[in-house]
């Protein structure tokens, strides 16, 4: 394989990886703290993309649209948590699966009611539309580089917040032992609502960044949701570090798998990787202690 192609695919893989990380981060924290499985996380990814597309249409400014759409998705997530999901923390996983499955149907259909079944365009601003020569002889789309940069910044910021701040300590305490953290004075319910909102906003951000590359359409969140689950399982549920490493691994392996292997095998390679890791370490690579 020529050098330019390797570099380009590597960048594609890392870029896909950071996007997966944004999805998986919310999922893994929500799961880590509340032991809650949320299939409707993909709907938030879709919501982010649709909100941004609508806002670009209204304001005509991509950056303004992103700045509004990301917190708006966070608010939507908080609303979802407050109205429905909050009642399901003490229920079984089965009930959580069912209710979030119902939520997916409802949210997909509401989106279809508002925007219709046809994909909605999410145009890029001129400044991000071109491509840049990253290495001699290798040019790469500016927007994908931007995704990479934004994803990396968010990942580092999230890591610093979770590992080095008091709020992050509450999150980790809640994740490793909820009852103990609660009896030591951490308002775990409040922390969880915040984490849920932040997770929703990150999913929305991932959706917005995916919008111009893939299509903004109903159900766009489902495939990425399942990949985010794979990332969460490999990384170890509740672990930010695990999610980051697993996301990059999945992004790179998936990209190269599709290029190098025959299609039937290439589409399966990340799941085979997951199977091998689960066979070796059933709790994922970086399981939470406690």
């Amino acid at each position: 394989m020529p050098y330019a192609l390797i570099v380009e695919q590597l960048l594609n893989g890392v870029q896909f990886g950071v996007m997966l990380f944004l999805m998986a981060a919310g999922l893994t924290l929500v799961f880590g703290i509340m032991n809650m499985i949320n299939l409707a996380h993909g709907a938030l990814y879709m919501a982010g993309a649709f909100l941004a597309a609508a806002l670009v249409h209204v304001t005509g400014n991509f950056f303004l649209a992103v700045i509004i759409a990301v917190p708006a998705t966070g608010v939507l997530g908080a609303l979802m948590e407050f109205v429905v999901l909050r009642r399901f923390y003490v229920r079984t996983h089965l009930d959580q699966v069912l209710v979030t499955f119902g939520l997916i149907l409802v949210l997909n259909e509401i989106t279809r009611l508002i925007w219709g079944p046809v994909p909605v365009p999410l145009p890029l601003p001129a400044i991000l539309a071109g491509s840049i020569e990253v290495f001699p002889g290798v040019s790469y789309p500016t927007f994908r580089l931007t995704i990479l940069a934004v994803g990396a910044v968010v990942a580092v910021a999230l890591y610093l917040v979770v590992v080095h701040t008091r709020a992050g300590m509450w999150v980790r305490a809640g994740a490793s032992n909820r009852t103990m953290a609660s009896s030591l004075g951490v308002n775990v319910d409040f922390v969880f609502s915040m984490v849920f909102a932040v997770g929703a906003a990150l999913a929305g951000l991932a959706g917005i960044m995916a919008g111009p590359i893939f299509a903004v359409q109903v159900g766009m969140g489902d495939p990425i949701l399942i990949l985010a689950f794979v990332v969460t399982v490999i990384g170890g549920i509740g672990s930010i570090r695990g999610a980051f490493i697993a996301a990059l691994m999945i992004g790179i392996v998936d990209t190269f798998g599709r290029v190098l292997l025959p299609p039937a095998l290439g589409s399966m390679v990340i799941f085979i990787l997951m199977a091998m890791i689960l066979a070796w370490r059933p709790q994922g690579l970086f399981p939470l202690q406690g």
């Binding site: 799961f31 032991n35 499985i37 299939l39 429905v84 009642r87 923390y89 003490v90 229920r91 079984t92 996983h93 089965l94 009930d95 699966v97 069912l98 209710v99 499955f101 119902g102 939520l103 997916i104 149907l105 409802v106 949210l107 997909n108 259909e109 509401i110 279809r112 009611l113 489902d222 495939p223 399942i226 689950f229 794979v230 969460t232 399982v233 549920i237 299609p263 039937a264 290439g266 589409s267 399966m268 799941f271 085979i272 997951m274 199977a275 689960l278 066979a279 059933p282 709790q283 994922g284």
Partner: protein, 348 residues
């Protein structure tokens, strides 16, 4: 970890043999009356609908062995349906085109004989269930849910990428499916073949749940640690339950492919797995017959709602949410209510 189990799991033991058999026989008799009724109404579509109900009931009843009785929430059942369906469709495809399937290690040819294709569909699904189950069952709780979901998607992508057999468009069955030359794919005979299989599966499963094996998997669902402390190794029991469930899922898929003369990756999408779990819960987790009622209500409701509006999934989603919030024991709870009322009436 919250461990609130539906109280109905324990109720199974206390229900007498007759109490368990009565709804089962009632359901089968009702389903047997569908074809004459459809002929009286001159509406053959009803037979087609209820063939689908029976086929999905087989998959849901099988899934209940895992979800209801073993408390393992698998989102892989649609994957097994796809495996079974593609086994039948691929064998028929090779039969029609007169191409050999493989030449190594021995020569395999295609067939349109369902007496060979149906068991083979179940067998292939069982093998895949054994491999995936062995990996998924190393995990538990939410890991198990996510892992089964991922494997379902893996099987889905595999068939999407399989251009030789239609890829995303699916695979049509062009020849005539038969059983040793006898045509069984006519609507009514095929209906009774499916119903017969469902009836046998229901009775066998009822005996299985009451057997030593059934007691162990139900005990594992309630408290695995205690069962291990009794010296019973849990993995093999869970794996057997998972493989039986997968094999019957494969059989259901094989029947599905035969009934619609077609199979496509859409028949094995992960949402279909979710729908099957909904059927199981809607019917009632702790009963053998519940998922049959669940499948019937689900598919009929789907048909009715979709005839009113293209946005029927909105209502459907709300129904699922409300069901999860309030109808904990599913339709089976309504039945046990009937039994209780009847008993208190006759005691008077």
């Amino acid at each position: 970890m919250p461990l609130i189990r539906p109280a109905t799991v324990q109720q199974f033991r206390t229900a007498s043999f007759n109490e368990r058999m009565a709804p089962l026989i009632l359901l089968v008799v009702l389903l047997a009356l569908v074809p004459p009724l459809a002929q009286a109404l001159d509406d053959p579509f009803i037979i087609k609908l209820f063939t689908r109900v029976i086929v999905f009931a087989i998959a849901a009843v099988a899934l209940n062995l895992v979800v209801g009785f073993s408390d393992l929430i698998s989102l892989l059942q649609a994957g097994f349906i796809g495996i079974g369906g593609y086994t039948v469709a691929i064998l028929a495809n090779h039969d029609v085109n007169a191409e050999v399937l493989t030449t190594w290690p021995f020569v395999l040819v295609g067939t349109s004989n369902l007496a060979i294709a149906l068991p083979l569909g179940a067998l292939v699904a069982a093998v895949i269930a054994a491999v995936t189950g062995l990996i998924c069952l190393r995990t538990s709780g939410a890991y198990f849910i996510m892992a089964t979901l991922a494997f379902n998607q893996m099987l889905y992508y595999f068939f999407v990428a399989l251009q030789r057999y239609g890829g995303e468009d699916g695979l049509q069955i062009l020849g005539n499916l038969h059983v040793f030359g006898f045509n069984v794919t006519k609507r009514v005979p095929f209906y009774y073949v499916c119903l017969g299989m469902l009836a046998v599966i229901l009775v066998v499963l009822d005996r299985l749940i009451d057997s030593r094996f059934g007691v162990v998997i139900r005990a594992l669902a309630q408290n695995e640690r205690r069962v291990v402390a009794l010296g019973i190794p849990p993995l093999r029991y869970k794996l057997v339950a998972f493989v039986i469930s997968g094999a019957l899922g494969g059989l259901s898929g094989a029947l599905l492919a035969a009934s619609q003369q077609f199979i496509s990756p859409a028949d094995m999408a992960w949402t279909r797995s979710g729908e099957l779990v909904v059927m199981v819960v809607l019917g009632g987790l702790a009963t053998v017959w519940g998922p049959v009622a669940g499948a019937a209500v689900f598919l009929v409701l789907e048909l009715v709602l979709s005839s009113y509006s293209i946005h029927w999934q909105l209502v459907f989603g709300l129904v699922i949410i409300v069901m999860t919030l309030y109808l904990r024991g599913g339709l089976a709870d309504l039945w046990s209510l009937v039994v209780r009322v009847y008993k208190s009436e006759s005691a008077r």
